[in-house]
């Protein structure tokens, strides 16, 4: 791109080249800070346990091996059995949480955006305030509540909890989105004989799909990565989700660093892929919703 065309990029002119270089160097440092730990995770994961514990370290694995991945993904092996089960549990909990979060957040956000019922503001802020409180505060009472509901050691306890802590930001994101959809569209539908609910379902909902996708990504990632409730509510090995399962597993095998890094990598793959594929919706939802002024 030409640097002299200042109508395209107002920030590009010769005398500010210093700023541009500062920006580039800064970006380089940030990319190294971000990527090197992840690169080291990958490099360690393809070493043998012996190669990983040498000093000075092998900067590049002398004999790369996929043994750790094979072990984790092999259903015949007890380690692989556990890992795949944790993986499946995480997937199940996250998907159900995501579906429910969208189903609950969509109507609520729509109502907060469109309707002017008394107490609307109060309710909206109490929903947002939920975001403020740390999980630890809710652990004991929620555990007792879950016992009372008969949900301890079930994935239902996690889904119900994740739902509430994902909702506030989901509702907030979606509300910003609905604020930007012209109300005239619904009014036109109403004039044509649609009920208010039909207008919401058939006119507004299709338009808000990007916002819904953003909400879904947010809920999924939150549920996939959650640790503290899962560590408290689940005790049976076959129920554990990945973050807790991995922690339990490697507190017994403290020196299997390649295995630990391979597990961390495999655990990160679904959310990273999901986010990278759908990130434009997420950024757009933030731009149109949360950030607009």
């Amino acid at each position: 791109m030409s640097v002299t065309v200042d109508t395209v990029t107002p920030r590009s002119r010769k005398r500010i080249d210093g700023w541009r270089w500062a920006g580039r160097i800064f970006l380089l440092i940030m990319v190294l800070y971000t990527a090197l730990p992840m690169a080291w995770m990958l490099l360690t994961s393809i070493k043998s346990g012996f190669a990983a514990t040498q000093f000075p370290p092998q900067w590049w694995p002398a004999e790369p091996t996929l043994a750790s991945y094979q072990k984790l993904l092999d259903p015949q092996n007890s380690v692989g059995q556990d890992f795949l089960r944790f993986f499946w549990n995480s997937l199940f909990v996250s998907v159900v949480t995501t579906i429910l979060a969208v189903a609950v957040a969509v109507p609520a956000a729509y109502a907060f955006s469109r309707f002017r019922f008394p107490g609307r503001k109060f309710l909206f802020f109490s929903v947002l305030l939920r975001n403020m409180f740390p999980a630890v505060i809710f652990l004991v009472p929620l555990f007792i509540l879950m016992r009372w509901l008969g949900l301890v050691n079930t994935h239902g306890s996690l889904i119900l909890t994740y739902l509430t802590f994902g909702l506030p930001l989901a509702i907030w994101l979606l509300k910003g989105f609905y604020d930007n959809i012209p109300v005239q569209l619904e009014q036109a539908a109403r004039i044509d004989g649609a009920t208010r609910f039909q207008a919401f379902l058939l006119i507004v909902t299709p338009l808000s799909v990007p916002g819904i996708i953003a909400t879904a990504i947010y809920s999924f990632i939150g549920a996939w990565n959650e640790y503290i409730y899962a560590a408290t509510f689940l005790t049976k090995n076959e129920q554990l989700t990945l973050p807790v399962g991995i922690q339990r597993f490697f507190s017994e095998n403290t020196t299997d660093f390649p295995g630990l890094m391979a597990a961390s990598f495999l655990m990160s793959v679904p959310v990273v892929v999901l986010f990278l594929v759908l990130q434009k919706y997420f950024v757009r939802a933030l731009t149109e919703g949360a950030v607009k002024h």
Partner: protein, 319 residues
């Protein structure tokens, strides 16, 4: 598109001048149906725990006793906390942790957002790389960094030794002086991308015409940033800083997985300390009292939080 819909959204303001609140609630009874699911879930999972925690904070629960055998002790738990040395140490840690993480993550995220604002080849890839730490699980991040900091085989120490900065492998997280800064580095690694995304979104709302006009009037790059770009980002900056501050104040996984609060409480922050009191030492009453103190602090923070989040909305109403 944004400007157009912005104008239209004001049309959605149905008038409400509260003549009779009950009648109004009755006429809009259908509206509540839309928020009802959200409210019910919130009530069950939030209101009850808050009530329960406040109640429990006035009781003593000796280890070995069942929770239902708790003993009423009045405000003893509170005086015990406020007079203990650990409490103040943990509080100082929490303040350092929250302030340092929030400020540095925000500044780095801001810088990255500015540097990525201009289009250049490979921008999308760089942005994707920078976002990844925010997406991966904190448990995975904790293990990655724990391995990097490892006192025998850690790669960071090895690099420092190889380049001659140190003569032997340092102890990053087994040392009372370096543990908190080391954990803050991990936390920032995970959080700056969030600030970056928010500010990148914010930067798109800065009107190009204003920047161009300022340039025609002879404003320098720095002046354009300070007088045009920065004021436009004030709203999103406030929201970002508050969200970061709340998240940092409430962080648990990184210190818990990496050090468990040690060595000798040097990396305990409030949340990990409460967790340890409750689940490690079974001192539920004291933990509950801690939580109530936390509530109070969070309510103060929450006041600003709600004001910042509602800032956008009230401007809309004023228009």
């Amino acid at each position: 598109m944004t400007t157009m819909t912005g104008q239209l959204s004001s049309a959605s303001e149905h008038l409400t001048r509260r003549p009779n609140i009950l009648r109004q609630m009755w006429t809009s009874r259908g509206d509540y149906l839309y928020v009802l699911p959200a409210i019910v879930v919130m009530l069950v999972v939030i209101a009850y725990p808050i009530y329960y925690t406040i109640d429990l904070s006035f009781f003593k629960t000796p280890p070995g006793l069942q929770l239902r055998d708790k003993i009423w002790v009045g405000t003893d738990n509170y005086t015990q906390i406020l007079t203990s040395e650990v409490f103040w140490k943990v509080t100082v840690n929490t303040v350092i942790w929250t302030l340092a993480s929030t400020i540095i993550a925000f500044v780095l995220g801001f810088g990255a957002a500015l540097a990525l604002h201009r289009d250049f080849a490979g921008r999308a890839i760089l942005r994707a790389i920078l976002i990844i730490p925010w997406v991966i699980s904190a448990v995975a991040a904790s293990y990655i960094w724990k391995w990097i900091y490892h006192s025998d085989f850690g790669v960071l120490g090895a690099v420092l030794v190889q380049f001659g900065f140190l003569d032997r492998q340092p102890n990053f997280i087994d040392n009372v002086n370096s543990v908190l800064p080391s954990l803050i580095v991990v936390n920032i690694w995970r959080e700056f991308p969030f600030a970056m995304i928010m500010l990148m979104a914010g930067l798109q709302t800065v009107p190009e015409q204003l920047l161009r006009a300022a340039k025609v009037d002879g404003a320098s790059a720095w002046q354009r940033f300070w007088h045009v770009t920065f004021p436009h980002l004030r709203g999103v900056s406030t929201v970002t800083i508050l969200l970061l501050a709340v998240a940092n104040f409430n962080s648990f996984i990184i210190p818990w997985i990496m050090t468990g609060g040690g060595p000798s409480n040097a990396s305990h922050i409030w949340i990990t300390h409460i967790y340890e009191l409750a689940f490690g030492r079974q001192r539920w009453g004291v933990a509950a009292a801690y939580s109530v103190l936390l509530f109070i602090i969070l309510m103060v923070l929450g006041y600003f939080y709600v004001r910042a989040l509602s800032g956008n909305e009230s401007k809309e109403h004023g228009a």
